[in-house]
Amino acid sequence: MIWLTWRQFRDSAAMTSAALVPLAAVLALTGPGLASDYATGLASCAPADCVRFFDRFFEAHQGAFMAVTVVVLVVPGLVGLFWGAPLIARELESGTHLLVWNQSMTRTRWLAVKLTLTGLAAVSAAGLCSLMVTWWSAPLDRSATPGFALMDPAVFAARGIVPLGYAAFAFVLGVAMGTLMRRTLPAMAVTLAIFAALQVAMPLLIRPHLLPPVSAAFELDPANVGNFGVPPDGSPRVSVDQAVPGHPGAWVLSSRLIDPSGRPAETDAAGAAVQVSVTSGPCAPPEVPEAGRSLRVCLDEINRLGYRQAATYQPFERFWAFQWIETGIYAVLTLGLTGFCFWRVRRRVP
């Protein structure tokens, strides 16, 4: 049965290898150079502020960073579509299950071998991609601009061990839909729809609550103030970023300005209104313009008045905890679907 599984699988295995091996080779060749560029750049900017170096370094490699991230994001889905969905559906479609089920081997064993071998290949392919990319992009992950940090949903799903869980789940989902729909194309369509929906729902609805998020109030600081402006009429507007001072790389779930009484500050398109004088005091236009300094003085005044950034966030230190929890969730879903596949094939299919 191992031979037959391999014989049926080898063409798609060859195709996948043809795509992944060159990618792995390119990553292996360019990775050390990238890491040493990063180390050199970091040494030359330290101990001063390295933000400019980070921005330059990340921007220079942003295209490749996006490309490899997308590869890791789509591999599990492709595995589910092209390895999972046809695994049983194609047999049912062409009637060959009637041929193979009449060999001297139970259906349970047939399915077990097929699921194990092809499933292991699926998980290995996704795991190889993810680990290669995680290793290669480590310097970029450390210098990423907001929105592309490790904890941000698009990057989180393309690093570490979660892609293994996704691949296992997508594969078994494809198999299960195949036993249910009995047709390859509908099975592929449904697999894609369910998997994509879950991949969107996970970061939006589920992942933020896997561990209780931290809620805290922070003083305003250039790190969390995105924009400060004074409209011609009325009070100055402050908009706060999806970042919290002192916790670089945190996944900020909500961030807003609260006024001295602790209520959310009145907010419009330009930002939240802050009741501070702009004609005199620290927030008045300085007589001698000095870059950066006047903003900081003004923010100190706003902080003194009692305005704060109220944020809920998941600190970066929880990255691996989240990786393990999410992988575990997908592993449980995978086991459930595997059970369903066996039940379908043993009891319902013929």
Partner: protein, 266 residues
């Protein structure tokens, strides 16, 4: 094992949803026969064969095949060969791959028999099965079914999709194999003409019920078609069971089952 039953069914029935595909089927098939399973499409032939192969579980009653419960495990599977409707094969695999598949998955695989049959059929082992003609595909499926050396071979409408020539060749090779290999065969068809030359035992299924089962010779000797002026089938002599009756304005055609000679030819 000759003489004992290869297949025993007691009140066997199978439902799909609320519809009975087969019901109240009580049957004993003796070993060493070629059994024809006839009936119109949808009469339950495939259902009966799938129950015998263990692919379906009965909804009522019981069935035992070669003394064991169907789908009782690999040993039971090894005893039964099944050539499914439309004789499916893997289109992407070569003829040689199919033989290898059989060899890997069947402990009792008869490699010499398989090779010899493929050679006799003039099939190129390197040929992809998807490129074979319908007749060749059926022969390949039959080869797989025979080379696992089952004691009972079930064939579900194996020739339905074949042209008349391929049909004859297929049935002929099947008969040769039966003679060589000492196995029992159940062969289903919706055409009696496919079976009349090959079968010595007949099962007739109509509307998911068993109508007739027995030796072909006995059936022919005890069933008569009576044609004559129109008459009431109820007034036939005692001992003649009416199987079916058709009437025109002037004529009646009645099929009866009786052990006694027909005395009134009118």
């Amino acid at each position: 094992m000759n003489g004992t039953a290869v297949l025993q069914a007691r009140g066997l029935g199978r439902k799909y949803g609320r519809r009975w595909a087969l019901r109240d089927c009580t049957l004993d098939l003796p070993a060493g026969h070629v059994v024809g399973l006839v009936g119109p499409n949808g009469a339950g032939k495939t259902t009966l064969l799938k129950l015998a192969a263990g692919w379906l579980a009965p909804s009522s009653g019981g069935i035992s095949v070669l003394g064991g419960s169907p789908a009782g495990g690999p040993a039971q599977l090894a005893k039964i060969g099944f050539v499914a409707q439309d004789t499916p094969v893997y289109p992407g695999l070569t003829v040689a791959d199919h033989l290898r598949l059989g060899a890997r998955l069947n402990p009792g695989w008869d490699a010499a028999l398989a090779r010899e049959r493929i050679a006799r059929l003039d099939l190129d082992p390197a040929h992809r099965a998807g490129k074979l003609s319908g007749g060749q595909r059926a022969q390949l499926a039959l080869t797989l079914g025979l080379a696992k050396r089952p004691r009972l071979l079930l064939l579900d409408e194996p020739v339905a999709a074949l042209d008349p020539l391929a049909r004859r060749e297929f049935l002929q090779t099947l008969m040769e194999a039966v003679a060589e290999l000492d196995l029992s065969v159940v062969l289903s068809s919706h055409l009696v003409s496919d079976l009349e030359r090959t079968c010595d035992h007949l099962i007739v299924l109509v509307d998911s019920r068993l109508q007739v089962a027995g030796e072909v010779d006995d059936l022919l000797a005890t069933h008569h078609r009576l044609t004559g002026p129109r008459r009431d089938p109820g007034r036939l002599p005692a001992g003649q069971d009416v199987v079916s009756a058709h009437h025109t304005d002037r004529q009646s055609t009645i099929i009866v089952r009786t052990d006694t000679p027909i005395l009134d030819p009118a």
